[in-house]
Homo-oligomer: 492 residues x 2
């Protein structure tokens, strides 16, 4: 199968699209822009969910569930938010179908079943949630309110790509309410840290933590904190955002609380989310021309065992050994598949698991049985090693850790090599065009300059890094004064 995969160097975009399909992660559906997430792809999402959910709960959040639909009058209450999403809303207008009198066996929308008020399919849930919080928050005793929801949302995007940009996607959205501005800012920053920790420790995907410029900010937010990753084609991917919403939603929905001193004040808010887009980032950070490369911590299958045998006797002998081995690995919390299918040859299985990015492949044949050995191959470097069966469990345990950290190291090196300090605009254009990656440059802080740079180069300000140091400089485009560098890149 893998030989039919387009090479990254030939056409990165085509490589990505093919890989998602060939590795059985997802496919396009009969509904424009909506994807079907296949079991192997969904298993990765389940791993992502489990880890994030644990991290959210450890930081004091609880899960809840709010309606899919937002009545139009609520949707439009926070004007900037409404304006930001109005152009991509799926709208429910009717609640019934009926037999089509002109077309036997077909249905049509029942014109009598028109809703009095249209319902927007949630593109994000601030409006419906803040309308609900109004009933939950009375006094400072009800704060902070720390809630997360796992849900599907719909944004009617015109150009879609599997995982990266789809009309419907799965995500989590945290929505918190606080008594003070300071507490809300701390919460929003905390969740940026949680996302960064998850991206780096589990996805092995290094990220830059920063905040967005005015024009890239979430509609309705005062500040958007972001984590930005760099893909192998030199384009950036916004992997997660956490918003300080100020009192915008509290004011739009009139959510006030009584302070300890008995005063009435508007509540302060945050929201934060990551989505199935992360899977797109995961794929593009590590995978190669042979297929997926998955970090062990998120791989649905961490170890696959392929027996190489002739006849049932040899398979029986191998199975006897391997069944014990499988149990030992599972006892260590390692997920293992022992692939005894007789409908495929070992070579085809090797190619399949390479394509699917299984981190460790164990092969065992008759000679290994005689010698008490196994052949262990790692997916990231494609290196093979013959290992004594007695040491194999410990060897694999260490190897999984080694792969996890090697993937992160490699991705970090790539990003460092592809982050370029630039001081004039000619150089800026050249780097963006030829080398790609992040360009660290001075910017005069105006939206106008941002727009012009985008127009000339397609690069946007990905973020103003949290750790950007104060330095005297001049804007790479206008020459106006600037006090710190920001990160530009072309982006997904």
């Amino acid at each position: 199968m893998s030989k039919h995969l387009t090479k990254r160097a030939d056409d990165y975009s085509k490589w990505y699209n093919e890989l998602v399909i060939k590795a059985d992660l997802a496919e396009n559906s009969a509904v424009r822009g909506c994807m079907v997430i296949k079991p192997y792809g969904f298993a990765i999402w389940e791993k992502i969910q489990a880890e994030l959910d644990r991290m959210f709960k450890e930081t004091g959040h609880e899960n809840a569930y709010f309606p899919l639909f937002v009545p139009k009058s609520l949707f439009e209450a926070e004007e900037k938010n409404a304006e930001g999403f109005a152009k991509e809303c799926a709208v429910v207008t009717h609640y019934r179908l009926q037999n089509d009198p002109d077309n036997e066996g077909k249905l049509r929308v029942d014109p009598e079943a028109k809703l009095e008020e249209e319902l927007v399919v949630r593109p994000t849930s601030e409006a419906i949630i803040w309308n609900t919080y109004k009933g939950w928050i009375e006094s400072y005793r009800d704060l902070p309110l720390l809630i997360n929801q796992w849900a599907n949302v719909v944004r009617w995007e015109m150009r879609t790509r599997l995982f990266l940009r789809t009309a419907e996607f799965l995500w989590q959205e945290g929505h918190t309410a606080h008594a003070t501005k300071n507490e809300a800012v701390i919460e929003a920053k905390q969740m940026q840290e949680v996302y960064a920790e998850f991206a780096e420790n589990f996805m092995a995907m290094p990220v830059v933590k920063g905040f967005k410029s005015d024009s890239e900010r979430f509609a309705g937010a005062e500040d958007t904190y972001t984590i930005e990753a760099l893909m192998q084609d030199g384009k950036a991917l916004q992997a997660g955002t956490s918003h300080f919403l100020g009192q915008n939603f509290a004011k739009a929905f009139d959510v006030k609380f009584t302070t300890k001193e008995g005063k009435k004040e508007h509540v302060w808010a945050t929201s934060w989310g990551v989505s199935t887009r992360l899977i797109g980032g995961l794929i593009m950070t590590h995978s190669d021309d042979l297929g997926l490369v998955l970090p062990p911590k998120l791989a649905p299958i961490q170890v696959v065992i392929v027996p190489i045998y002739k006849g049932d006797d040899q398979l029986d002998a191998i199975s006897e050994k391997m069944n014990v081995f499988v149990k030992e690995l599972r006892k260590k919390g390692i997920s293992v598949k022992f692939d005894t299918r007789d409908t495929y040859r070992p070579g085809a299985k090797f190619a399949e698991y390479e394509l699917k990015g299984v981190p460790v492949r164990v092969a065992i044949g008759n000679r290994d049985l005689e010698n008490g050995t196994l052949e262990i191959a790692r997916r990231d470097t494609l290196e093979k090693q013959t290992v004594a069966q007695d040491n194999a469990v410990v060897y694999i345990e260490n190897l999984l850790k080694e792969i996890q950290s090697n993937l992160f190291k490699k991705a970090l090196e790539y990003r460092e090599e592809h982050t370029t300090l630039v001081n004039d605009f000619k150089e800026f254009k050249k780097v963006i065009k030829n080398k790609g990656g992040f360009v660290s440059a001075h910017w005069d802080g105006t939206e106008e300059t941002e727009d012009r740079i985008k127009e000339y180069t397609k690069a946007t300000i990905r973020c103003i890094p949290n750790n950007a140091k104060e330095e005297v400089g001049i804007c790479v485009l206008t020459g106006k004064p600037s006090s710190r560098r920001v990160l530009f890149a072309k982006a997904y």
Copy 2:
């Protein structure tokens, strides 16, 4: 709080509605018929999900995700299914809002953004899934296909009640494809068993396993297997269904596979689901006039510890003891809350946890500290016991098991007392009207008789029990011959 709860005997329906709100499980939202599931209610759903998901995976199923929307042309392909759901479909007709020129600051549906084909918000996913399976199934090697999805669905019900019947609800839907009829029937029955095991072992809710009469069958199914529970008001609740779909969807979507012998045949199908409705069943099976009663296996908090103290010194001394105790309980996998809030008195806390159905309450005061004891109260019987601290972990471990089995026993006794063998229609009417519960009676097998009985009594055939024994009898209404008894009841 609890004193304001309506008594079951006074108004069971009102008691239920109040309890759901007061115990902080869910509330109605701004969207007609849609609920907000609050954190405490959602925590129960998470426990239900975790156990069922484990059981599905142990029986070989994988999770995947299919689109929220079903294009109308796919929706209408399987005619019976389409007809069954057409009257309660939310329909998306437009994909954009725009500023309302007549109404500043307001939005309206953009008339130019009308979809070419309307999209139905899934009321169930057979259509979109079988349209997808068409691309996945080619040969017998691709079968069986054993897939489950956790999702939200929408059915535009006119009369809604929290958890029991809502326009949007959360559920899981399994959709499997098989090479033979027999294999599909076995799968459908297996999932009925999984549901029954879950209901009885985790929810402590006894269920009757049976199959549906023609008129109560799922739209598009050949056979519907059901589990039916009995609520405390004598009404039945359909708690889960598993459908043998025959080749109906395979034919509607032209899904064929090549057999080992090289022939092309239509695939056989099942689907099966349970929903957030289970939470309604859980509430109505066990709870009492003081509030919720939760079986320990699904209780978000299994043990709550309430300190009774005067001043910080006493609280410190109690906390020192209890922090060790909490750790020991958690080591046993028991979820514990140590409630040290100083904004509520112990009495208010007792009432709150009674209302919320926490299975075990531990109280500790100064005298207990001196005596090395704890006061341990169980929610199901309200009994209290003074227990030596040294024995308390083991005592609680056993008590949780005892509560779990006691709840099941109590519910089973109730059901047995409320299952009445009836042989004439006068008696039938009397039992349904006064005593309620299941009525086991002979039925002539016709839809007409079923309809007339429903008209006279509001009772429907809940199921034909799997274990109904063959016996010669006459229909309770018409006197026509019948070979086995079926179960009637009024139902939710």
